[in-house]
Symmetry: C2
Subunit: 480 residues, 2 copies
Amino acid sequence: MIIDAKLTKEIASIVGEDNCSTSVADLYTYGFDSSIHHHTPDMVVRPKATSEVSRLVKLASREGIPIVPRGGGTGLCGSAVPIMGGMVMDLTRMNLIKEIRLNDLYCVVQAGVVYDRLNEALAPHKFFFPPSPGSGEACTIGGMVATNASGMRAVKYGATRDYVLGLEVVLADGSVIHVGTNTIKNSSGYQLERFFVGSEGTLGIITEVTLKVAPKPKKAAMVLAAFDRLEDAGSCVSNLISIPLIPSATELMDDICIRAVNKAVKAGLPEVQAVCMIEVDGDPEIVAKELKVVEDVARKSGASTVQISDDSKQMARWTNARKSVMSALSRLGDDLVSVSLADDMAVPISRIPEAVVAFHRIADENHVIVGTYGHAADGNLHTKMLLNPCSEDSWKRGERAVGQIFDAVIQLGGTVTGEHGVGMSKAPYMKKERPDAWGTMLLLKQAMDPKNILNPGKMMQWEGGIIRDLRYPCRDLISK
Amino acid sequence: MIIDAKLTKEIASIVGEDNCSTSVADLYTYGFDSSIHHHTPDMVVRPKATSEVSRLVKLASREGIPIVPRGGGTGLCGSAVPIMGGMVMDLTRMNLIKEIRLNDLYCVVQAGVVYDRLNEALAPHKFFFPPSPGSGEACTIGGMVATNASGMRAVKYGATRDYVLGLEVVLADGSVIHVGTNTIKNSSGYQLERFFVGSEGTLGIITEVTLKVAPKPKKAAMVLAAFDRLEDAGSCVSNLISIPLIPSATELMDDICIRAVNKAVKAGLPEVQAVCMIEVDGDPEIVAKELKVVEDVARKSGASTVQISDDSKQMARWTNARKSVMSALSRLGDDLVSVSLADDMAVPISRIPEAVVAFHRIADENHVIVGTYGHAADGNLHTKMLLNPCSEDSWKRGERAVGQIFDAVIQLGGTVTGEHGVGMSKAPYMKKERPDAWGTMLLLKQAMDPKNILNPGKMMQWEGGIIRDLRYPCRDLISK
């Protein structure tokens, strides 16, 4: 046991007995995030304050114990899975919104604040924190910073990184530093507040975040355009952007996703090759004008039907159909579940049609079903693979298809992860994507965490494949 | 001589004889940037390609020769002054706009491309790269990335850092790496493209930049509001932002700046305590609506006169008046020149009035004249100090005032540099501003540049004061 009785007592003296656990149920549960990976930690700790995080890290540094910070556990690639054991540090008790200073266009929150809670607090003041991750009702601001999370609105509003003004971070030796500023502008030394963005807990533990906020648009409206040819949906997006008209969201769904949501949640979407849900927002006059442009461009790009709505109920139905894709895909085939493997690639926007066509070809060649959807206007595509969890062969075909999808994305000038992070699932492919920058990342990791206690074994350090080292419950069942 | 005949020959074989120089005139000239600092380099090199930069850095690494990358030389705090001698690397020959991919919302440029040239290339396509530095007609994109430059429009459009998608960087050992992506979204490992932003050539030499571009607003219009009380101008800005209405620019000028431009360029501005030039931009309908709101808020905030214009000539006159401040201040008093010392502090937006009042008090107490102006809506303030360059006493009073201004800014929760960088002028105060993060910056510098050849002696490494080690020409003249 890496954490013995004496250490357990010391840890309890820091966070309180109720906030550290070695119960089998807790350890098993905290061995998951929302990815397919799993590994049991030795302890779960739930600090309430930065000072507690600092003391825990000092202890871990002294004893050489891995620490894996964890927000809402909504990550899809294993960033919060304690692959080397040690402590999982659940930060959700650090959930204070400390300051909202709208005159100064910023707010200060603890890492464990949930995305939707922050926006609920900002809404009455007509402001918001724009990145809109699909997991907004559960994911934390700290987790969003740690993965540079975004969502539907990045093409118009940017990703988390564009809003991080300052951070409080606990370093690998337990010292606490403050990086960035409370100002909109900052040229005062290295932009460390952006350096920690996307570092997935491997460089330091983010305990507090100063975020820029933006005025909430007064109105939004949507166009649902149906296309008989997938390529036309892609052209529609490119045609809009080159006007230029930047939609606030452009959600693409292919035929498999359409069928899945129509079956599972009776979404009533047109059963065509692809639909695009295009949202525009802003002042009512602009929304009205842009809606007409979007409708016109969609028709000229080959849309077979175009529906328009600014009715909040109708828009919510469309948005919910889109949000249901991930779960609906698991109910498309009887023995199949939808798994997140190659799940958030991004390509240059104009390469979207080629990417989707390539994914379909790869799916066919490997005899797997792949549903493709995503944020077409920012080049970010999700695929979910439908696999039989109890079939070794199904997993193997899936793994092969994942590799080919990532290769296709790199070939198209894209990246293997646009908004979820690297963790374990994408580590081998990040290395492929970044043959020359990878070494610099490792160098910086070693400088920042010489004892390698901060989320070890992830990103550049991950030596396994995607599924080879997978501890998927069904796999354990099969092997028994 | 740090660079002997043999090395000179080797360097000439890399860049060509015409592109390296040890002539006294060149060395003297390249010893300056636009700051008050000066130090003569041992050689000036002007590479044309990344491969040449790489070979030069390899040579410098082998021989332990300092390299100071330089763009347009418009920096105001000594970032491009070769304080330890060695090579100044002028990157302005690397001035290719390599790609403009508007469908994909990005462009790729070499580091030496001038800001205005890039925007001239983007304009016909109705796109632009928004940060608008005052030195836009001369400063380079590489320099802007290296200092996180911005300008008038940051409150609405962000700073350079918010547009950097990818970089090509030559590291301290001469190896070339590519960081970031060609995609709008990226969660693929450490955000190194943002890490190099603001590093002022101390972590690597930026040779190529992939920038996000934005749709150019269709129309702009301006309000010129005159205030008899400086505090009212500050309240006006806060009142606008909390509506929320985010202007595209809000330029504040105090009475000293107003007098200076009225005298020097006959700007014809109202001679009051403060003027605010508030620009709004976007679709014509929105501009018209927002202009009315701005006018109303300005009056309610106590403006004594309010002028409105969407006439391009009138707007250019106002903008030029603002742009003339720096040079006009040098012509306000007979024996005085305007110097950039405490020149681009930023405070939380609502603290602007307190900051300006503090600057005036500090100026009075030290018997120096300080003109204050700046980008009020993003909290970024410029002060220029009017000093007698031939008076030791005048410099000493100036130095004391600078220290007090920086202290006041830190006290107000601000930063000593919002958009120009640290270089030498602000190094002692960055240390004061960042007592706990400073060590991490130094650690990363040491990891990235173990031989300390990349712009050595700057930022965290600067041991001098602001003026103590100053090689200002007049100072040399006095000492003779």
